[in-house]
């Protein structure tokens, strides 16, 4: 079997006395969707930010295998290279859209900015690509020149997605991307992500509180509590036959069947 595209080894991170993450290790492969679930404050966003090199751990390593097959130790490479990766091969959809978008420039401008930073030269091409991706995430093209300030929460999430996908990333980090979307748009977004992962090998780490989304989209799942991964396995196995008390509680607290 092929090598992982991303590998986390013994990641730990504390904020003062708060242990946000403790000794987390796993591997992620191309074409794979891995979901991360767990209660609020369990360290999910912290983990995503570490994996993408946005913040640094107290200890541990993240290794990314880039487009050319080179293994990069994310906390050892120069900041400039890290930033470049985040504008091109890695995508990050933030839980808080203010972090992922510039609220005062137009939607089209947000997408074009990433494309141009990623190496695209032509403004015309950037605009054409922006329109194409707005369509893919089902945002009305008529809103291209509006700023995200004028967008709803769900629209902002989709704009972040369009912006990130525009550079054809190889790994996508998604922090609650479907929160605040109505069911039918949510389904469309899930479909889009599933398609990109199976057809183009996109690897996805998906933080979600929605176990149904985890079930439909991911092959594997990590369950977090108090900064620890307390249970990990195939998504259907963990959701159908949870072993840990906390996971059993999480699964049974969902009304109906997840």
């Amino acid at each position: 079997m092929c090598d992982p595209i991303l590998k986390a080894a013994h990641l730990s991170k504390s904020y003062g006395k708060v242990r946000a993450l403790e000794d987390v290790s796993f591997e992620l492969f191309s074409s794979e969707v891995l979901s991360i679930v767990g209660e609020s404050g369990s360290g999910k966003s912290t983990l995503l930010k570490l994996l993408s090199g946005i913040i640094e751990p107290d200890c541990g390593r993240v290794t990314y295998r880039d487009k050319t097959g080179t293994l990069l130790s994310i906390f050892d490479i120069p900041d400039s290279l890290k930033r470049k990766l985040l504008r091109t091969e890695l995508g990050f959809v933030w839980q808080d859209p203010k972090e992922g978008l510039r609220l005062k420039i137009s939607a089209g401008g947000n997408i074009a900015e990433r494309l141009l930073a990623g190496g695209l030269r032509s403004f015309g091409e950037a605009r054409a690509k922006s329109i194409w991706w707005l369509n893919r995430v089902e945002l009305p093209v008529s809103r291209l020149d509006n700023t995200p300030e004028e967008y709803s929460g769900g629209m902002r999430a989709r704009l972040q997605l369009a912006k990130n996908l525009a550079t054809n990333p190889r790994v996508l980090f998604l922090d609650e991307p479907t929160a605040g979307l109505d069911v039918s748009v949510q389904a469309r977004i899930l479909d889009l992500i599933r398609g990109l992962s199976s057809e183009f090998g996109l690897a996805v780490v998906l933080v979600t509180h929605d176990l149904m989304v985890a079930r439909l989209l991911s092959q594997r799942i990590l369950v977090m509590k108090d900064g620890l991964v307390i249970e990990a396995g195939l998504t259907d196995q963990v959701l159908d036959d949870p072993i840990e008390p906390y996971t059993q509680l999480l699964v049974s607290s969902i009304l109906g069947e997840a």
């Binding site: 079997m1 069911v183 439909l216 195939l234 259907d236 036959d241 072993i243 008390p245 059993q248």
Partner: protein, 234 residues
């Protein structure tokens, strides 16, 4: 001793499964030492009263439930692999290429058409999209799902139609091992016969089947051997 292993599709030994329900502080013993060896082209029927552990056994064979102890050897591309000790990625591989599981109900995915639902596992195996869609269409038609429904998501289908999509999905990928959990329970008589005919065909092609069949007549028509689950000793 292990004569004819090349033809062994699946061999499970001493499978035990106990569920621990933490919030109820309860333990449920569902399986206590089931063993069986099945060859390609054979069908094993799992039998027993409701709640005895039939679905549990089948789910263990798919890696959907973790066994408490025991081993499950699967003939995956000519090699016997122990599902109990396999990595998560190995299990996914085995599911993609070797084991197909037809549950009692289809889990519908919003906005994905019946045709795409059936084609997806074929594409996952590595076949090209066109071939996959063509084979998906063929199996949907075999199960009397009319062409006009193929492009629709099964969300709005009747229970029986959904279940036939589910069976088509399980069969069209042509896996060497087929697990069936009461696949015909929600089908009317003519469709039940169509489905049973397809299972018999698969068997004739060398597919190994482990199945739960509600209906005794159906069971007898397809099963070569029956495994009667007994209430576990406390």
């Amino acid at each position: 001793m292990e004569a004819n292993t090349e033809n062994t599709a699946i061999a499970f030994k001493d499978i035990c499964k106990t569920f621990t329900l933490h919030n109820l502080k309860a333990q449920i013993k569902a399986l206590s030492g089931e063993s069986y060896t099945l060859s390609f082209g054979q069908c094993l029927a799992i039998n027993g009263p409701s709640g005895i552990g039939k679905s549990t056994l089948l789910r263990c064979l798919y890696g959907n439930y973790l066994v408490s102890s025991g081993e499950i050897k699967i003939n995956h591309r000519g090699k016997m692999v122990d599902l109990v000790r396999a990595s998560q990625r190995e299990i996914l591989e085995i599911r993609t290429h070797t084991i197909s599981y037809v549950s009692q109900f289809l889990r519908v995915i919003p906005r994905v058409s019946a045709l795409d639902i059936v084609a997806a596992p074929i594409i996952e195996k590595g076949l090209d999209k066109e071939t996959a869609l063509e084979r998906a269409r063929e199996y949907l038609l075999k199960l009397n799902i009319q062409e006009r429904l193929h492009k629709l998501p099964p969300m709005t289908f009747s229970g029986g139609e959904r279940q036939r999509v589910n069976i088509a999905r399980g069969l069209a990928r042509l896996s060497p091992i087929l697990l069936l959990d009461e696949p015909c329970a929600s089908l009317d008589f003519p469709n039940r016969q169509v489905a049973m005919e397809l299972f018999l065909n698969a068997k004739a092609q060398g597919v190994a089947i482990v199945g739960i069949f509600h209906d005794a007549e159906a069971r007898e028509s397809v099963a070569d051997v029956t495994c009667n689950l007994q209430a576990p000793k406390a």
